[in-house]
């Protein structure tokens, strides 16, 4: 009965150990590698266009470079090495013979079936002992037998016989699998013998100390300092600090651009003598007279002063290049042009930090300026320029032909709303657009996802009134109506309602599934909902031919207090929607009603609160919606009194509220038989209490535009 730990001398165990260990490490790494090598943008729909500008190649190379940056070479090699090790271990497992331990089986030794009776066992034993007793049998020289072999064989046979007949020995056999009682067992450690053999010990110790003394502190340290180095928005902490210093309450888009040029991230682009080269050329270009704006770079006089106040150096060059990018200015120098397209995505990522900072201040102006700057950077437009420049082939000359001397810019929507012949006569002509270019521009415009808000209202789930401090949901209903869409169907009033899930539908309440409108109940006219798997449909990647990244557009919904100029409810961001935006061909709009929901806490006092709701798209200029919404918060006592009068709101007996009601001594309401008929199918259960679920009291406001 000894317990001894043996190292794996035969080498049949440690391959299993190593194989398992490598498997645990390699599988996630492989998954990571596959996920990385797939282009994340490929899964997004795109806006179909064949538009190419002079520098499309430059922009494309920058995009590719960015994708390559994501790929890590060490990951690739680690995965290869992992699979190679696993393959070798499998080979070892296949080829190494494991020492086999045969089970001791008395029936086999006596050569009888396991169903043999005691009588048969006895007779077999007698026959065998007659033949094989060491006194009787002679060693067979041809089989190389000795007298000891014979004795051993006979002992085995008698042991087997006893195991089957003797009570005690039989017990031993049943309990321990051996007639002699408990056997000693050995535990093998799945490590090769080599690492404990003499002389190798010091290498093992060295390996250990390198692993735990050097590698572990290094990994922990690099992780910790890595988290310190970058802010939550993923920009360098130093840049975030600098941008914070640049924040002002009265900042506009030009000011944000100036603030974004402080980033430390640009320093990688302009090292050494690159810091100043070409600066004077860029500046002379952006300060030249522009076609649409006094300065070609589209910057205001104030922004120009700010630029000239800077010391020449990387920061000044960055700012000049940013203005050159926004003004779409040709710099006649491959390197400068490339730098021009390279600074914009960095500025866009820094804008996230500015956005977070302006949110901390809760002022409307800077927050909007931050979103507008994002639009400008993606579309390469200077502040206060015409949104029409977003369309392909639209040059300042074309915009001038459309807008004339007017100071109010024509938005893409209003341009596209004009009849085809009229807009064609405006923009097609000599030095303007050719017929083909015009068609391309119109086709792109008809694919831009413009979210037209149909209705916005407040509600509290399952309540008729909004009482102070309750959790209010802002429901925004809108459809994606690309500019210039024809035959836009009328809004189905059923789509505008937001029906609460039934009380017993826990999945829907917790948001695990959404409901899909399937049709209308013929008798009652109530909409029928069917629970459906949540679909996540992203809008097509922003049509941004100058922006050297793929960007998936987002919509931000937030409420502001117009009197104080402060943000009342911070932005909720929507990048994915639950209904398809475009049909399968990618360009026919479905006009499906989208629902955006944002939850926040109602004010603690009752009253009428008027907010300005902003729906801002971060990728397209002039696609924002701004409208007034009124939140009516009722006195809690008044709402309770109204609820008491209301027969419907008395809780059902099988709901939690009903149990609470019963506990208070009230008589729970019986379900009406008519309702039972209604709710015999689970799919319809959402429609039961439609009347009291839809909060009808809140002010619905139609959009201004």
């Amino acid at each position: 009965m000894s317990t001894d730990y043996a190292y794996d001398e035969e080498g049949f165990l440690w391959p299993f150990f190593v194989f398992t260990l490598t498997l645990i490490i390699t599988i996630p790494l492989t998954f990571l590698l596959i996920k990385r090598s797939r282009d994340p943008a490929a899964s997004f729909p795109r806006i179909q266009t064949s538009f190419k500008h002079d520098h499309t190649d430059t922009v494309d190379t920058l995009r590719k470079q960015e994708r390559r940056k994501d790929r890590k070479l060490w990951l690739f090699f680690a995965v290869i090495a992992g699979w190679a090790v696993m393959g070798y271990m499998l080979y070892l497992i296949q080829t190494t013979e494991a020492p086999t331990h045969k089970l001791w089986n008395p029936y086999d030794i006596l050569n009888i079936p396991e169903t043999a009776t005691e009588k048969q066992i006895k007779s077999t034993y007698k026959k065998l002992s007659l033949r094989l007793h060491p006194d009787k049998a002679k060693p067979d020289p041809s089989k190389n037998e000795t007298i000891e072999d014979l004795t051993a064989r006979y002992v085995e046979i008698s042991k087997a016989y006893q195991a089957l007949t003797d009570e005690e020995i039989r017990n031993n056999y049943i309990q321990y699998g051996n007639p002699d009682g408990k056997q000693g067992y050995s535990i093998n450690i799945a490590l090769p013998k080599v690492i404990v053999s003499d002389g190798n010990g010091k290498y093992v110790v060295l390996l250990y100390s390198v692993l735990f003394g050097v590698l572990l502190p290094y990994l922990v340290g690099s992780w910790w300092y890595g988290t310190l180095r970058r802010s939550k928005e993923g920009v360098l902490m130093e840049s975030a600090n600098r941008i914070f210093r640049e924040y002002k309450d009265t900042i506009d888009e030009g000011g944000v651009i100036t603030a974004l040029s402080t980033g430390k991230e640009y320093e990688e682009l302009f090292k050494g003598d690159k810091a100043d080269s070409g600066l004077s050329k860029v500046e002379s270009r952006i300060f030249a007279e522009g076609e649409l704006s006094p300065l070609a770079g589209g910057l205001s006089v104030k922004d120009k002063e700010k630029l000239e106040d800077l010391d020449s150096g990387p920061r000044r060059k960055v700012l000049a290049l940013l203005w050159a990018y926004l003004g779409r200015i040709e710099l006649d120098d491959a390197e400068l042009n490339k730098a021009k397209f390279a600074v914009a995505p960095i500025a866009h990522s820094l804008n996230k930090a500015f956005n977070a900072i302006s949110l901390a201040y809760m002022n409307t102006g800077p927050l909007l300026a931050s979103y507008y700057t994002s639009q400008l950077l993606i579309q390469a437009l200077p502040p206060k320029s015409s949104p029409l420049l977003q369309l392909p082939y639209f040059t300042p000359a074309v915009v001038k032909a459309v807008e004339g001397d007017s100071r109010i810019h024509t938005s893409v929507q209003s341009f596209m709303d004009r009849p085809d012949t009229k807009r064609r006569s405006l923009v097609v002509g000599k030095n303007l657009l050719s017929e083909e270019q015009y068609r391309e521009a119109v086709s792109v415009a008809k694919q831009l996802p413009f979210l037209r808000v149909a209705k916005a209202y407040f509600k509290v789930t399952g309540e008729r009134f909004i009482v102070p401090s309750s959790l209010v949901t802002l429901v925004v209903k809108g459809r994606f109506v690309p500019p210039g869409s024809e035959k836009v169907p009328d809004i189905d009033p059923n789509d505008l309602e937001d029906v609460d899930p039934a009380e017993d539908d826990l999945d829907a309440i917790s948001g695990r599934k959404t409901q899909k409108l399937v049709g209308k109940d013929e008798k009652t006219g109530k909409p029928i909902y069917e629970s459906a798997e949540t679909e996540h449909i992203a809008a097509p990647l922003a049509a941004a031919p100058y922006f050297a990244r793929d960007h998936s557009p987002r919509w931000h919904v937030f409420l502001t207090d117009s009197k104080q100029g402060r943000v009342a409810v911070p932005p909720f961001t929507f990048a994915q929607f639950d209904r398809p935006i475009f049909a399968a061909d990618g360009r026919t709009p479905t006009f499906a009603m989208q629902t955006l929901k944002a939850q926040f806490q109602a004010p603690p006092q009752a009253g009428h609160y008027t907010f300005v709701m902003h729906v801002v798209c971060d990728s397209y200029v002039g696609f924002d919606t701004k409208m007034e919404v009124t939140l009516i918060v009722e006195e809690a006592s008044k709402a309770a009194a109204m609820a008491a009068d209301d027969e419907i709101s008395e809780p059902d007996e099988d709901s939690i509220a009903g149990i609470m009601h019963a506990a208070k001594g009230g008589q729970p309401k019986k379900r009406k038989p008519a309702k039972e008929d209604d709710s015999d199918s689970d799919e319809e259960s959402g429609t039961d209490d439609e009347d009291d679920d839809t909060s009808a009291t809140n002010t619905d406001t139609e959009p201004e535009n």
Binding site: S231, K232, E238, N241, F244, Q437
Partner: protein, 240 residues
């Protein structure tokens, strides 16, 4: 009594020495670095020009040749102090508005720790500065310390307002010019329309023909120009 095997203890002792030594070097180096870093933090505000002016007026060095420093009139000193207070007001406002935002951003991890340190130092400096100004004011005119910041506040608010007004007024010239131009073009267009209307009646038949012709025309232009127009545009750009 005890037979201590010193040689056998050597190894554990050396281990301890190395361990403790490493920790101590690490901690001293780390602390020193931190101290240097916080000492080298850039100040939140730039140089305080108004304070420097005030102090240099107050402590005028005697000019070469003369023994006594030139006498500065009291009114000038008081004005300089008031200017200094106005600048302080600007800085206080900046600090007060930034404090809430800065602390929330620090909690969220959106800005770094050193920014917060710089901020707190600026706050402390401002407190000192305010106390100093009040004392100076009381020394100049007894009781002025209580009201100097009220007047400074009003001056500051007035300046902000006037700056904005000036900014708006600067635009009037340009707007006027633009409106004149715009009015002229609108007038021209109206006149043209009137002329056309008069002409239309005479040529109503020919105009229908020209409309029919114009529908074909753009298509013809379209096949001709696509290669010509973009290059023309780029040429125009490159000439700039």
């Amino acid at each position: 009594m005890f037979d201590i095997d010193w040689r056998g203890l050597l190894l554990p002792l050396a281990y301890l020495v190395v361990l403790v030594g490493t920790f101590m070097t690490f901690s001293t180096v780390y602390r020193k670095r931190k101290a240097v870093e916080s000492a080298n933090l850039a100040p939140w505000f730039g140089p305080h020009l108004q304070r420097n002016i005030y102090l240099s007026i107050l402590h005028m060095e005697p000019e070469e040749g003369s023994e006594k420093a030139p006498k500065v009139p009291d009114s000038v000193i008081r004005a300089a102090l008031l200017r200094r207070a106005v600048e302080d007001i600007h800085r206080i406002i900046q600090i007060r508005t930034a404090k809430q935002a800065c602390s929330t951003l620090l909690q969220r991890g959106s800005v770094g720790d050193d920014l917060w340190q710089r901020f707190q130092r600026a706050e402390k400096e401002m407190e000192e500065e305010l106390r100093d100004v009040v004392m100076e004011a009381n020394a100049l005119v007894p009781g002025w310390g209580q009201i100097i910041f009220q007047s400074a506040n009003e001056i500051a608010a007035n300046k902000v307002l006037r700056d904005r007004l000036e900014e708006i007024e600067q635009q009037t010239e340009r707007d006027k010019e633009w409106w004149e131009k715009r009015r002229a073009t609108i007038k021209n267009e109206f006149m043209k329309e009137l002329d056309e209307e008069a002409g239309d009646k005479a040529q109503s038949k020919t105009s229908t023909n020209s409309v029919a012709g114009s529908e074909d025309e753009p298509v013809l232009v379209g096949t001709d120009t696509p290669s010509a127009t973009p290059s023309g545009a780029s040429k125009k750009k490159s000439k700039k």
